[in-house]
């Protein structure tokens, strides 16, 4: 019974996550915070504390989980985590081997504690690795870059292709239009770094072929953190006298949390409250019950002192190695971050790479993309503005509003419109007026600032046949340019644009600034 309730709750939380994902788009009211679920991550309060040594109230959902865990155990993993639910579904599809077959992987359990330790040590030295491994972040990343675009491809493209067939046209549009209006208004999303994110996400699901909940058992740092808090959990499984030791509960346990030789005990650090054990206990026996105990027994964490020392040493070594690389100043000039992003180091510390900003950007200017590694590991999957493919919509400030950790601060629209993300430069070698003495100025046409940041001068040139003509040559006014990049997006050249945005003149949120004259346009 309770296992059935758990299954329904799992599906409901997954649907809730998807709902919040879907509302993260234009028009966004913020009445329901689209990033609410992401802040349920139990890792965020821990690492936020390690970073600031203070407690931030915006992470109350995560604290709520942490507060309940000593009593209930890893209920988050079994009931709430959408990645866990997806992993369960993958397990059904792929057909995971039984616990007996996968027994030999049990020794890998310590890995998740090692990973947690490693990420904590790196975080203390201001290297954010935990964000990549946060289960909610992983799930949102998979949704943004892989699943949602793939769903668009399947549904949207199928219907639009059907609409090309004359007698199917009306029927296809009949299905397509409400779908477009309510579910998926964005055009097909294309994201860079798709391969690695797909691989990362696919691997976590694919590991179900090795054992059930492989990720949760052996790798997930959130699971490790919750497991540490569950050692004395008060809600216990009790096995009555009637138990004939049929071992059914042991083989059906998702987490292999019931020791092989001792079905009367539960490994509290591993158990995720799925209640499968009670469900599979034969109806005639029904030996398994659950109840509160004020004097709970203790399960030790599967992580020896030797392993702790080894992983700590390895983390320190990793820290050194990660910082050895050359940070070439040249490589950073195109890494334009969203308006409102904190200064780069603090930004990389706070950002959990959930790509919620990338998601909401797709419904607007569609410039944000997961970044590549240019010279530092931490650049991976930070949001970066790829202006050739999309630009920052002048009247949009949504990325900051949905950032779960405030790595991008929410700016008011007026503030955002005054906050330069970067500065546009002409490449006069290829820009059409300079290269060919012909009018173009598409960049100037699209420039959205109330006083255009791109202006032009008219010069007289002599044409091939000796006639004189006037050509408009564009240039950028630094004080007016906000680096929105629409000039780069709309440049009619093939391939590389004749104008591009660099990080010059960028204004990061919370950074010390030279005071600037107030905008005449409020």
């Amino acid at each position: 019974m309770i296992a059935k309730v758990r299954r329904v709750v799992q599906v409901l939380f997954l649907l809730f996550f998807l709902f919040l994902f879907l509302i993260a788009r234009y028009p966004y009211t913020g009445n329901v915070e689209a990033d609410l679920f992401l802040r349920f991550s139990p890792l965020i309060p821990l690492f936020d504390f390690l970073q600031h040594f203070s407690i931030s109230s915006i992470f109350w959902p995560g604290f709520l989980i942490l507060a309940l865990t000593p009593f209930l155990g890893r209920f988050f993993c079994g009931w709430i985590c959408p990645l866990g639910t997806t992993i369960d579904a993958a397990s059904k599809v792929l057909g995971s081997p039984s616990n007996r077959t996968s027994q030999r992987w049990e020794k890998l359990r310590y890995l998740k504690f090692a990973i947690l330790t490693g990420t904590v040590i790196l975080a203390l030295f201001s290297v954010n690795v935990w964000g990549y491994l946060d289960p909610l972040s992983i799930f949102n990343r998979g949704l943004t870059v892989v699943l949602y675009p793939f769903a668009t491809l399947l549904i949207d493209k199928t219907l639009l292709t059907a609409a090309q067939i004359p007698f199917l046209e009306d029927a296809a549009y009949f299905l397509h239009d409400p779908f477009k209006a309510f579910i998926m208004p964005e055009t097909q999303a294309h994201h860079q770094g798709l391969f690695w994110i797909l691989l990362f996400f696919g691997l976590i699901l694919g590991l179900e072929k090795v054992s059930r909940r492989f990720w949760c058992r052996n790798l997930c740092p959130a699971g490790a953190w919750l497991g540490i808090l569950s050692q004395f959990r008060m809600f216990e499984r009790l096995v009555g006298e009637a138990c004939p030791v049929c071992n059914k509960c042991q083989t059906e346990c998702k987490m292999n949390a019931i020791p092989g030789g001792d079905v009367h005990h539960t490994n509290k650090v591993e158990c995720i409250d799925c209640f499968n054990c009670g469900a599979v206990c034969p109806p005639k026996v029904k030996a398994i019950t659950y109840r509160w105990r004020w004097k709970p027994y203790h399960t030790p964490v599967d992580y020896s002192r030797r392993q702790l020392i080894q992983t700590s040493a390895a983390s320190v070594a990793a820290l050194g190695l990660l910082n050895l690389g050359l940070t070439n100043r040249e490589s950073g000039d195109r890494q334009v971050r969203p308006p409102g992003a904190l200064p780069e180091d603090r930004f990389a510390d706070k950002c959990i790479r959930c790509l919620e900003c990338v998601r909401i950007c797709k419904s607007n200017g569609a410039c944000l993309q997961p970044d590549h590694i240019h010279s530092r590991f931490e650049e991976l999957w930070l949001p970066v503005a790829v202006m050739r493919e999309g630009y920052c919509e002048y009247n949009c400030n949504l990325c900051g509003q949905v950032c779960p950790t405030d790595a991008i601060l929410p700016l008011s629209l007026a503030e955002k419109q005054r906050t330069p993300m970067g500065l546009a430069y002409f490449d006069k070698n290829i820009c059409i007026p300079f290269a060919q003495n012909t009018d173009c100025i598409v960049c100037e046409e699209h420039c959205p600032t109330p006083d255009k940041a791109i202006k032009f001068e008219v010069r007289e040139v002599v044409t091939r046949d000796g006639a004189k003509k006037h050509v408009k040559y564009p240039y950028v006014i630094k004080e007016l340019c906000i680096g929105c990049g629409i000039c780069e997006t709309k440049c009619p050249l093939q391939g590389q644009a004749g104008i591009y945005v660099t990080t010059m003149n960028q204004k990061r949120a919370g950074a010390t600034q030279v005071s600037e004259p107030a905008s005449p346009y409020g």
């Binding site: 028009p27 090309q164 055009t187 607007n364 598409v442 699209h446 009619p492």
Partner: protein
């Protein structure tokens, strides 16, 4: 001739001349419609009604059962007061006029420059046209068909199918400043039904735009000059550049409408290359030097 005959003849001739004069009134008394109607000093719907009256009503342009495309400018993510997009009240009034004249459906769309969802919403054209009974839809990239235009530079270009297949098309630009072509009016507004990489049109712009426009001229052009944008166009964004002129210019000939609308900006045709080029290439339906412009000033 006796008295009786005289009276009869006199009576008949009086009656006849009376009949003749009434006949004359019905046949000859209504003057030929103007080439261009230029209405000032009114709200968008009044301006439209007054202009249509000069041409004898919308029925003169639209037949019962027609599929009509109304092509406003809603290319920018700007609210109406910034004068970057066609006035939503004008579009709504126009949709109603079309439907009242018997149009089967009135389709409204534009290929936008900013995000289409934002443009349709923020311009307020989507809501007002929809409320007026129009079929407002977003551009579907699959619905462009390659049209052969055989121009000087452009030989073929993708054009929106709904526009090509419509029985009647009404082009409703807003009069705006534009750096490249000085002003943007009816000829430029037709870019909203063009597919492909429109940035490519912007070098040798005048030739290319005329190349394509030649093949897709609308049935009617209505220049929205309720508010005009005098600088920083075509996006605008500064209310100081918006001039409220409360006017409207209507013509079955796009070039004649544009030609007349130059007056709003105090420009002469010599200042605007696109108009020059279009004249050279013969896009005008009427002789522009002796254009019959009916100017109406509403009370």
């Amino acid at each position: 001739m006796d008295r009786r005959d005289f009276l009869r003849t006199a009576g008949m001739s009086i009656a006849g001349s009376a009949m003749l004069s009434s006949l004359q009134e019905s046949v000859f008394a209504s003057p030929a419609p103007p080439h261009v109607a230029w209405v000032e000093n009114g709200e968008p719907a009044q301006l439209l009604a007054a202009a249509l009256k000069e041409f004898g009503g919308m029925q003169k342009f639209i037949s019962r059962g027609d599929v009509v495309v109304v092509k406003p400018n809603m290319g920018w993510d700007r609210a109406p007061q910034y004068a970057a997009n066609t006035n939503p009240d004008l579009v709504a009034a126009l949709v109603r006029e079309c439907l009242n004249a018997g149009a089967k459906t009135v389709k409204v769309f534009d290929r936008t420059c900013n995000n289409p969802l934002r443009c349709y919403a923020n311009s307020q054209v989507e809501a007002s046209a929809h409320d007026a009974g129009a079929d407002v839809s977003h551009i579907r990239e699959t619905r462009f068909v390659t049209k052969s235009v055989n121009g000087e530079i452009i030989k073929e270009w993708p054009i929106y199918r709904d526009y090509l297949e419509a029985d009647k098309t009404i082009n409703v630009p807003i009069a705006k400043h534009h750096s490249l072509c000085r002003v943007t009016l009816g000829l430029k507004n037709l870019m909203g039904v063009m597919g492909g990489n429109r940035g490519d049109i912007h070098n040798s712009f005048t030739q290319k735009i005329v190349d394509i426009d030649r093949a897709i001229l609308p049935s009617l052009t209505i220049v929205d000059a309720y508010r005009i944008l005098t600088a920083n166009g075509p996006v605008g964004g500064n209310l100081a550049h918006v001039k409220t002129t409360r006017s409207l210019i209507m013509s079955p000939c796009t070039l004649s409408a544009d030609y007349t609308a130059l007056n709003l900006f105090g420009l002469s045709p010599d200042d605007v290359d696109v108009v020059q080029e279009a004249m050279k290439r013969g896009l005008q339906k009427y002789d522009l030097r002796s254009l019959n412009v009916k100017k109406v000033r509403l009370a």
